[in-house]
């Protein structure tokens, strides 16, 4: 689960105070808000790249407020995808496993399964350079899920896609969530996405998070 308790943070231009957010384990949370309101900062705080000035963050029952981001076990999909451009798709997907020193055979098998799930099995030996927007998001998602994280954080994953691709990826997210049931925090400014995906809906307005009742 994801729990933000009375969190305050300063991140560049953003000052947020007294944020409360709770997403129970297995739920899909969507955080909405106008662009530039500070949604990314909240995500960054959860992942561990921005430090809090007050409050605490608990993930899956563990207080991670001061914990190293490498240990939090969060799958992160940043706003611009941020694929590793010097590696192939296969290496991108395998990255988290290589870090954990999983043996080669298992990595190869896992990457194969992952790629099939994401629908990019045919792209494995490609460099990330010439991929389309949709393909990039699939790779990024696969990379984030490779090590079976308990939390998933997505920063506006569909915003830069054309409407047809957006539909595809949206369906992919639904499918994955049904299959894996990973606690997710999805940040967006689009109501449509929220409607489809959210178990819990939040809105960031004037530096405060309010929970909305889902439909």
């Amino acid at each position: 689960m994801i729990c933000l308790d009375d969190v305050s943070l300063n991140a560049g231009a953003f000052r947020l105070k007294g944020i409360h957010l709770l997403i129970p384990t297995g739920d899909y949370g969507v955080l909405m808000g106008k662009t530039g309101a500070g949604k990314t900062s909240i995500l960054e705080a959860i992942i561990g790249f921005t430090s809090l000035t007050a409050g605490s963050i608990t993930l899956s029952g563990r207080d991670v407020t001061r914990e190293n981001p490498a240990l939090r076990g969060i799958g992160y999909l940043p706003q611009d995808g941020a694929l590793f451009s010097t590696m192939t798709v296969e290496e991108n997907l395998a990255f988290a496993l290589r870090v954990r020193k999983v043996e080669k055979k298992r990595i190869v098998a896992r990457v194969k399964d992952l790629a099939e799930l994401m629908g990019i099995g045919h792209l494995l030996s490609r460099r990330t350079h010439g991929l389309s927007g949709g393909e990039r998001q699939r790779v990024a998602l696969g990379r984030a899920l490779a090590f079976e994280p308990s939390i998933l954080c997505l920063d506006e994953p569909l915003s830069a896609l054309d409407s047809e691709t957006r539909e595809q990826i949206l369906q992919l997210l639904v499918t994955i969530h049904k299959m894996k049931g990973v606690t997710t925090l999805h940040v967006t400014h689009d109501l449509g996405e929220a409607a489809t995906l959210a178990d819990r809906l939040f809105r960031l307005v004037d530096g405060k998070v309010e929970m909305l009742n889902t439909a």
Partner: protein
């Protein structure tokens, strides 16, 4: 025709407007090219003057000798310089010391550039400005400061094997070229998306792993640029070398000081010949690194099957 198709000149037809714009565009490009080419002409002129000077001297000697073509090939100032064991030594030392200096520059520039780019700390701006000093200081002052530095302990103890010796050459070259390399690496790291590192960390990396596996590979092109820059800077370094390492022939003499030494004995054509050698060497090195960077840029863009 809508009310917006006119201009100061009154309502003009489509054709007129099209040709006017085309002409204006041509004039614009042409004038920019002319301004730029003035500078290019200066560089070209200087090189050409050097070449012509040497050529003139060679012709003069060749005419006076009995075998014209043989003399032209073997008695021209460049050939004479190349035969001179002092110049041969100077070339040998230059190649080695510039390479060592460039490797050393990059070795220090990568960590320093990374820290300056990624790691916030108090006084970061101050350090940044500080690193401009070797670039801004007149070269002679760098040399003099080094000399004075080595009067003090603990440097004093190493002075005997460094001052006026070969390691002094490498040190003086490194002292200046490193600053250029740091600038380049910092810029390189600045341009690399920090998000990638963040993703890597969130996937479980230590900062070092994130640097080694994600950031560093992306910085390769910048690394090459920094190396080339440092190499070229080391080759051209003169002031600090003269003061700190001396210009002892067959010992601490490198190409840049060779030019000076030849001039000092009044051997102008020897000086110009060595200058041409230096220019040639620089062009070769620059071309090699251009080619190498093109290769890797191509590789990035290619589609692997």
């Amino acid at each position: 025709m809508s009310e917006w198709s006119g201009s100061k000149r009154g309502i003009e037809g489509y054709e007129t407007r099209a040709s006017r714009i085309t002409l204006a565009n041509r004039v614009f490009i042409a004038s920019f090219m002319m301004i730029g080419s003035t500078y290019l002409l200066l560089i070209f002129g200087m090189l050409l003057a050097d070449v012509l000077y040497v050529f003139e001297q060679s012709l003069g000697k060749a005419r006076n000798s009995s075998h014209f073509w043989a003399s032209l090939i073997s008695d021209n100032p460049i050939a004479v310089s190349l035969r001179d064991p002092k110049i041969q030594y100077s070339i040998w030392l230059s190649m080695i010391s510039c390479t060592l200096s460039a490797i050393g520059s990059v070795a220090f520039a990568v960590p320093l550039g990374y820290v300056l780019s990624r790691i916030p700390f108090r006084g970061r701006n101050l350090v940044d400005a500080f690193l401009d000093i070797p670039i801004v200081l007149p070269p002679l002052i760098v040399g003099l400061s080094l000399l004075i530095l080595f009067q003090f302990a603990p440097f004093k103890w190493a002075a005997r094997s460094i001052v006026y010796q070969v390691p002094g050459v490498i040190l003086a070259q490194w002292a200046v070229s490193c600053a250029y390399a740091v600038r380049t690496m910092k810029m390189t790291f600045d341009q690399i998306n920090p998000r990638c590192e963040q993703v890597a960390i969130s996937l479980g990396c230590t900062r070092f792993q994130a640097f080694a596996w994600v950031t560093f590979p992306e910085a390769k092109l910048g690394l090459l640029t920094a190396f080339t820059l440092a190499w070229a800077r080391s080759l051209g370094e003169f002031g600090p070398l003269l003061i700190f390492a001396g210009a002892t022939r067959m010992k601490t003499e490198v190409l840049s000081t060779s030019v000076f030494l030849e001039m000092n004995v009044g051997n102008i054509e020897g000086a110009v010949a060595v200058s041409l050698l230096m220019i040639f060497t620089s062009i070769v090195v620059l071309m090699i690194t251009r080619w190498a960077s093109n290769q890797s840029a191509e590789e990035k863009a290619s589609v692997k099957l």
